[in-house]
Structures are given as C-alpha cells and as structure tokens.
C-alpha cells in the first residue's frame, strides 16, 4: 500500500495528537469492592478456558459487554454494572484474560482509518453520552487492542472490540495505518514481528512505511 501525500500528513498529525496517550488502565478502589470484582473477573476468564488453549481469543468478553462509550477513570467495581465498554476498557479485560490463559500480552495502540460518516456517528454517540470524542480525528480513530506474543518476537494482535485477530495484511476500510506496541514495563526487545512487518516497540510507526518496499 502506498499512502497519498495528504493521507501521510494526516496520519502524522494523528500520531502527534495521540503520541502521549497511555494505554487504558482500570483502577482499584482501596476497598473490597474492586478486589471482589477483579477476582471474579479472573475466575470468569479461567472458566471460559474450557479447552486449555492459550492462544484463543477471549470471545466471551464481547458476549457480555457491548462496545460503546466509557467514562474515565473506570474502576473494577464499576465494570460489571456497565452494559458497554470502550476499546480501552475491553483491551484491559482482554489482556487480563490472556494472562489467565497463560499468554504474554501487551497493550497495542492503533490508528484505524474508516469513513467520515462512521466517525461522525461515533462522535455523536460519544458526545451525547457526555463522553469525550477526542479519539476521533476526521476519518481516523484511536483504538486499543492486545499484542500477544506467539513465539520469540512474533506477535498477533487481538482486537477485543471486534473480537477477532487482526490480519496484518488487511488494507482499506478499517485498516490499521499506525500502531504502537507498549512494552514500557518489560524487557525491551529489538523488534517485534507481526506478519511480514517489523515493529519497534514503544514507538508509533506508520504501517505503510513498515509494510511496503521502498
């Protein structure tokens, strides 16, 4: 894929806008309420591991929670009471579930490109729910997912919002145009490999630059 000059500068602007965003975290109250909710979630995740397969996506999360606006900060004791969670909250839950399954996982921040009519819909939905819509920039959307280490430096990316593995080859509508795998708190690796792409951790990279030959 070759990005048009206009698209490239738009993505650069989007990266600048979201560069300092940290992956979402769900917080604990200093009381039993959040401890109980968290332990309950861990046990739920183990229960859904019916066949012991480590690298199976935790589909059950999206069967329980719809995708929609979340108000932040979010606490563990609030999660179960909510019907909808945004991609950041779903990403936290999915990473917790992957850990229970025995997988090594990291947050991954993405920028995805849709159509303007889509992002207008989302903006309306978030703002009418008195939630921030600053994750939208024109037809680009900030998104969170889970990078799961498969073997050595090879990763796969689980999208907890769509409840599927993202294809590194996917281009066009909904495609990832930039991403950042957050491995800040772990031993830094030289590069990660996602499909045919090499990815430097903790760095925002444009997928076209990584994916195409010069």
């Amino acid at each position: 894929m070759r990005l048009a000059k206009g698209d490239r500068s738009k993505i650069t602007i989007a990266i600048e806008r979201w560069r300092h965003w940290q992956p979402s975290r769900i917080l604990f109250h200093h009381e039993d309420c959040c401890l109980i909710a968290h332990e309950w979630f861990i046990a739920m995740a183990r229960s859904h591991l019916t066949d012991g397969i480590v690298f199976k996506g935790p589909h059950w999360i999206r069967q329980r929670w719809s995708w929609g606006p979340s108000k932040w900060p979010l606490y563990w004791c609030q999660v179960e009471k909510l019907d909808t969670l945004d991609c950041g909250a779903l990403g936290v839950l999915a990473r917790e579930a992957f850990k229970v399954q025995g997988a090594t996982t990291f947050p991954v921040q993405l920028i995805r490109q849709f159509h303007l009519q889509d992002t207008q819909q989302w903006r309306q939905k978030w703002e009418s729910g008195t939630c921030l819509s600053n994750w939208i920039l024109d037809d680009l959307a900030y998104h969170e997912a889970c990078a799961v280490i498969r073997q050595d430096s090879n990763i796969e990316i689980w999208d907890p919002t769509d409840s599927c593995w993202i294809s590194p080859e996917a281009r066009g509508y909904g495609a990832i145009v930039a991403l950042c795998v957050d491995m800040e708190s772990f031993e830094p690796r030289e590069t990660l490999v996602w499909g045919s792409l090499n990815i430097q951790p903790n760095t925002w990279v444009v997928v076209e630059v990584l994916g195409s030959s010069p």
């Binding site: 309950w40 591991l49 690298f55």
Partner: protein, 761 residues
C-alpha cells in the same frame, strides 16, 4: 507449444451450484478466461444441478441418474470423446475414482491414478506423511461400540462421524452417533465409517494442479466467510509457504499426480495444521484463485494440450461469492419442485449429482475389480466384538440359568468387590498432605451390598435426601462419614437433630443463608460446610451461579458468616462422561480458581474440595485415579490451606457390577437374516440403555458365552412401546432361538436405581 488442429474441447463434470457446490462452474469460468474459443461441455447427472444453465458451457451432456446408467455403455461413450481428443476434468470424487479405474492410461483424462487415489483415502490419507500436516485422530466403526464411546469421551464429544466419500455429522452424544451412523450408512451404502476428533481452528485450503507428477501451480486459501455448512463463501488467496511447497512438490511427484486437488485443513490455535481431506479434484472456489492470478485449470489444460492459455492478471487476492440469477437454458426446462408431503415443504435434492446413487452402484459390484478397489481404498478390517472382563465371565459361569425367572438383575459380587478394593488401595497410597476420600453416591445404586462395600472400605456416603441418610445410617455409616448434597438433602424433614456430618454443601445462597443459623443453634453440624458452585461455562440447574457478580458478592459475604468451628469447602459436579474427560480436568482447574477467589475475597480458607462425578468405570480407573497426585498438586497450587479432597466416582464403581439377565421371546427373520430379537427385558429395567453402549452376551446351547458384535439387527424389549429398543445394531448368531439367555452388561448404575415397574399389571 504447438497449436492443435482441432478445437480444444473440455468436458467438465460436477455442476451443482447450491450452498455446497461442485467445482464445475469455477473450472468453466477459469477455462473461459484462458480459452475464449474452447468448447466447454458441462456434464451432470440431474437436471436439478443448476450449473447446467451456466452460460460458459457451449453444450450440456446431461446423463441419466447413476442408478439408471449402463456404466459400461457410458464408459465407452466417454472413451469415444477422449479418443477424439477432448479432455475430461471431473468435479465429482466418486466419478474420479470410477474413471481412474476405467481409463488408467488415457492421457486426456486429467485426473489422478488409482494408486494416487489410494494414497489419499480417508481417514489415514497416507500421502500426508511427507507434509508438515497432521491427520486428526480417528477410529473406525468396525471397532466395538465400547471403544467408540471411549474415544468420544476422550475428545469431549467434539467428534465427527464420517463416511469414506462425502458428508460428516457432528455428534454430541451416543444417541446422535447412532442416528448419524444409520444415516451415513444408508446414504452411502457402506458401513465403512469412522469417527474423528474435531479440531477447533480456522479453515484453510491448498489447491494445486499437476500433470504427470509435475506441480504446475498451487495456492493457499484462507477462508474469510463460510456457509452454515462450513463451505467457503469468501476467501483470501496467498502463496503456499515454502515449508509446505517443497514437500508438496515431492509428494505430487511420488504420486505422479495429474489433475486438480484440494487439501482441506484446519489451523488450530497453536498454529498446527490438520489435514481433514485431500480431494482428488479442484475445489468449488477455484475461480477465486483465478481472480488472484492463478488459473490452475488453465495451466492444467495448457500443459496437457500444448495450447497456450491467455494469461490473466491478478485482480484481487480476495474473493467472495454472491447470489445471482441467470436465465435457464430453454432446452433444459426446470423440473417442478418435488411435491410436498405430510407437513413439509417440497425440497431440492441434497445430492443432485447423484453421488449416493453411484456409491450404491459401486458397492454392489463387490465381486468386480472396482468393488475390490473400493474395499482396498478404504480397508478398515472386520467388525470386532468388545472384550468382556474375565471377572464378569467367571462370575456368570457360577449361575445356573435354567430355572431363574427373567428379567433378572444379577449382582456381580467379585466385580463389585474388585472395583471398591482397587479404589481403596489407590487412595491408601496417597502420601500427600491432603487427605483424600471417596464418597459413594447412594443415589447411583442404593443396593445395600454396594453400601456395605463402601462402608467396609471406609468410603464416605454421599446422600441427597433424608431417606438416603437413614439408609446409610442403617448400613452402619457414622454421621461423620456422610456428605450431604443436592437441593433436597433435608427432604422430607430433618430426621435427627444435632448430627455432626462430614460435609454439607449448600445448593443455593438461600440454603446457605438458612443453614448458618441452624449451625449456630446446633441443629446440625459438619466438619466442612460449603457450597456447590455452578460455573458459568456450563448449563446446570445446580449450585450457586457465580458467573453473576452480585451472586458472587453475596456468596463472599455469607461465607464470612459460617461459624468458625466449621471449615469451608466447595463442591462441583459435572459428569465427565458427558463433558469429556479433558474438559472435566479443565473444569476442575477453573473451580479451584473460583475457590481461590472466594478465599481471597472473604478471608476464609478453603479446606475442602469435593469433586464429582459421573465417571465411566474405564475413565475412573484409567484416567482419574492415575492422575490423582496431579489433581492434588493443582489444588494445593491454588488453595494452600486445603486439607481434604473428596472424590465422587458416581457410576464408576457400580456400572459393571450388575448385568441384566433376559430371555429371548421371539426371533424374527427375513430370509436367512435375523432382523429382530425380542427379549423379556425392557427399558423399564434398563432406563439408560440408549445413553451409552451396553455389552451383550449370548449363552449358546453348548453353554458357552458369546459376545455379540455390531450388526444390523434390532434387540427389542418386551414392552408395547415404540421406544423399547435395547440395541439397534446387533449381529445375532444364527443359532439364537426363543428361550435363549441374553445378558446385558453394564447395568449397575442408574439402570438399576432409576428402573421402574411397567406393564406388569
């Protein structure tokens, strides 16, 4: 390459174009791209194969159905067109086999040889061994039902029943397996079926074309969308990875493959590829590969004919199907829908190209070379009888059956004693810090002889009502050896106040809320008090549904209120014979995590775990008890204060220890075949006879016992009830006659405790 002097003519068979299509249309579309002037002749065997109307075909060669065709005449007609220079690409597996046999050396038949077909036959697919692919575990249905049932339990009833040609049924229990067996056997005129483990994963395929052992091209297809039947609807084409391509080239060479082929695979979550089928023809999605720039049918024709194909460029790596309407050919008017019968709609044919009819034809030619070829292709051996433990046969010998009234359940004392003793010995060998006990489930079989054995071996007694409590106490169990479970454990009323039980597991929050003050008042007591957990991933009516956070919170707060002189415990009970043995172990681990969550959040230590149940005898002795130390390690890994593990064997100790003695009332024959045998036993004495296989013995007039194998006969009960069928696939000995004794084994568990009086006035 040289230009042929006559028009390029290609016969393409297999034109069905419904939700489970044949490849004929895709082959024709691909060839039309490459050879705009070629004469494409579509071949099929029914005017309900709607692909006959596809406009890329210059002509349609519609044949009579396979059951009407004179195969020799048809073969000579095909030979004529092949001799005239036309090519034939088959899109039908069975037709491919038949043609390979009929025309083993004809260069214009673009299909694999008999030898190559032999090496891709299901389920072994011998050719796969050179490829980095595995074949899912399977078992032939010639093996005894007993072993098939064990296979299904092992794979948690994630299994398929398959025939040697087409079709597969997902079966989830023994009843479904028997139904599917009958359906497949009737449709494909063969008993050569097998059961195969289901692989969870993404479906992927490789399609290739080859000519005389030379791989011309191949593509990898990842399914992007599938029909409810699992057939490709959309996909993505990519190159075949080198680690598969290199060995594939070698295998194609070894097989001297000619024609198209498809390897249907599943990629599991660990990335392992499992080969499900190796089809001897192009796949129905082959035009999707052409869209991606790989026109495999054209490459095949180009190589075989020497006529250069027009190259097509890659339009897109991804393809999808759409539903379109096309004009029907006037010379083939559409037949009317079959007349609706009873309360159903008229329906289309499931197999319009008539493959079941061809299968029936080929199977009938047993004495001919083709029949022998099919046998060899799917060689699976003779049907074998289940083995009967020596102890059972020995014990049966001790009875004089001439005078006994039937039907009669026989308690096999030595079998029972051995089961209890073996279990007790294994438990005694446990040297871990956790005390392990077995709780005999009284409901499984309340026969005093079993209870006495349980008592003798220091087992606990698990009771679900006050009646069962009284029974256990009457046998000599101390209240401190009693485990109370189930929703009706206090029914009809508390018999003795102040008893101190071993363990008491509440079935609901309501019961726990009620129980706590009773404990405080000393109305009853127990060393361990706890709850049965209902894990969220299984449907169950029992236990506390901890998948609801509010319920979990309430449980935590109630657990804190349990009197400190009672230790806390958790219980779960899911039959391993229903969910599968490995799934049961996963469930066990998940229950430990729930127990840990309760412990962490309540601050109350979990000191007892009670796990059940529903163990099939072979799994109890062959799987659970050998893994006991692992079970304890897992528990201690999660619950550091655990003191006590209670195992519930369920039916494991009793099932084999009772057999039902029956007498033959009538033998019904059709010619020399015995079709049905009626006995004086019935589903009233064997209420779970259709839930799992029961081994059957016949006492011959010479006094010897013969184990009955699987066959076509029905074993019918005495009741005037349609469902009183004790076994639906029995091979009766020809000498069987009224008055003979048949013993139906494995009737010692719920067959006994749930039996009822019926039709006895």
């Amino acid at each position: 390459m040289t230009q042929r002097k006559y028009p390029l003519t290609i016969y393409i068979s297999g034109l069905y174009s419904g939700p489970n299509p044949s490849p004929g249309i895709g082959i024709a579309r691909s060839l039309r791209c490459a050879y705009p002037d070629a004469i494409l002749i579509g071949v099929d065997y029914s005017n309900r194969s709607h692909g006959i109307h596809w406009p890329d075909f210059n002509e349609i060669w519609l044949q009579r159905p396979w059951n009407e065709l004179d195969l020799d005449l048809y073969a000579s007609q095909i030979k004529e067109v092949l001799d005239a220079g036309a090519f034939w690409i088959s899109g039908l597996d069975l037709e491919t086999i038949w043609l390979a046999h009929k025309f083993p050396t004809h260069s214009n038949l673009l299909g694999p040889s008999v030898d190559a077909l032999r090496r891709i036959a299901k389920p072994t697919i011998p050719a796969h061994k050179a490829l980095p692919l595995r074949v899912p575990h399977y078992l032939y249905l010639t093996l005894p039902d007993w072993e098939l049932y064990a296979f299904c339990r092992k794979y948690g009833w994630r299994v398929w029943l398959k025939g040697p040609y087409y079709e597969a049924y997902r079966v989830r229990n023994w009843t479904e397996l028997n139904f599917a067996r009958s359906q497949l056997s009737n449709t494909w005129s063969t008993d050569k079926l097998f059961v195969q483990a289901h692989i969870v994963g993404y479906e992927e395929s490789i399609a290739f074309c080859a000519y005389r052992g030379h791989l011309l091209d191949c593509v990898y297809m990842t399914k992007r969308d599938i029909t409810p039947e699992g057939k490709t609807w959309a996909g993505r084409i990519s190159n075949v990875p080198k680690e598969i391509l290199d060995p594939l080239q070698k295998v194609v060479k070894e097989l001297n493959w000619t024609g198209g082929a498809e390897l249907e695979m599943i990629r599991d979550a660990n990335g392992m590829l499992w080969l499900i089928e190796w089809n001897p023809r192009f796949p129905a999605w082959i035009y999707g590969a052409t869209i991606a720039g790989h026109n495999l049918p054209a490459l095949l024709i180009e190589r075989a004919s020497g006529m250069p194909a027009r190259k097509n460029l890659e339009a897109n790596k991804e393809f999808t199907r759409v539903v379109i309407e096309i004009p029907a050919r006037p010379q083939f008017p559409l037949p009317p829908l079959s007349e609706p019968v009873a309360d159903s709609f008229g329906s289309s044919l499931k197999h319009p190209s008539g493959m079941p009819l061809l299968a029936a034809r080929l199977q009938k030619h047993k004495g001919e070379v083709l029949g022998a070829h099919l046998d060899e292709l799917h060689e699976i051996g003779e049907i074998s009888a289940p083995s009967i433990p020596h102890l059972i046969l020995e014990e049966l010998k001790s009875y004089d059956f001439t005078q006994v009234e039937t039907p009669l359940p026989i308690f096999l004392k030595a079998v029972a004693e051995t089961s209890f003793k073996q279990t007790a010995e294994i438990l005694r060998a446990n040297s871990s810090g956790v005390q392990v006990a077995v709780a005999y489930s009284v409901k499984t079989n309340p026969d005093a002889r079993f209870l006495e054995l349980a008592h003798k071996h220091d087992f606990l007694a698990e009771i679900i009502s006050q009646f069962e409590l009284r029974k256990a106490l009457s046998i000599g169990f101390d209240p401190a050896q009693i485990v109370l479970n189930g929703p009706g454990k206090w029914w009809p009323s508390i018999s003795n106040r102040g008893l101190q039980f071993h363990a008491l597991f509440c079935d609901s929050l309501e019961e726990l809320r009620w129980l706590i003050p009773q404990l405080d008042k000393g109305i009853c007591g127990a060393r361990f008090v706890g709850v049965r957990l209902r894990p969220p991933q299984f449907q169950s009516r029992f236990g506390v549904p901890v998948g609801d956070l509010g319920t979990f919170r309430d449980l935590v707060s109630l657990v804190k209120r349990i009197p400190p002189d009672c230790s806390f415990g958790v219980h779960f009970h899911i039959p391993s014979s229903v969910v599968g043995v490995e799934e049961w172990f996963q469930l066990y681990e998940s229950i430990l995590v729930w127990a840990r969550a309760i412990e962490t959040t309540s601050g109350v230590k979990v000191r007892c775990v009670d796990v059940g149940g529903g163990w099939f005898p072979d799994d109890w002795f062959g799987v659970l008890l050998p893994r006991l130390s692992g079970l304890i390690d897992k528990a201690l890994g999660n619950l550091h204060s655990l003191e006590h593990l209670i195992l519930e064997p369920g039916k494991a100790l009793t099932q084999s220890a009772v057999a039902l003695l029956t007498r033959v009332l009538e033998v019904r024959r059709s010619g020399s075949n015995i079709e049905e045998v009626v006995v004086d036993g019935s589903i009233a004495e064997l209420p779970t006879v259709q839930d799992y296989p029961h081994r059957i013995l016949w006492l011959s007039s010479e006094g010897g016992w013969e184990v009955l194998k699987r066959g076509k006969g029905l074993l019918l009960g005495r009741l005037c009830m349609e469902n009183d069928i004790l076994a639906s696939t029995v091979d009766f000995p020809n000498r069987i006659q009224p008055g003979d004794i048949l013993v139906i084994c494995d009737a010692g568990a719920y067959d006994r405790s749930m039996s009822y009086a019926f039709g006895q006035g």
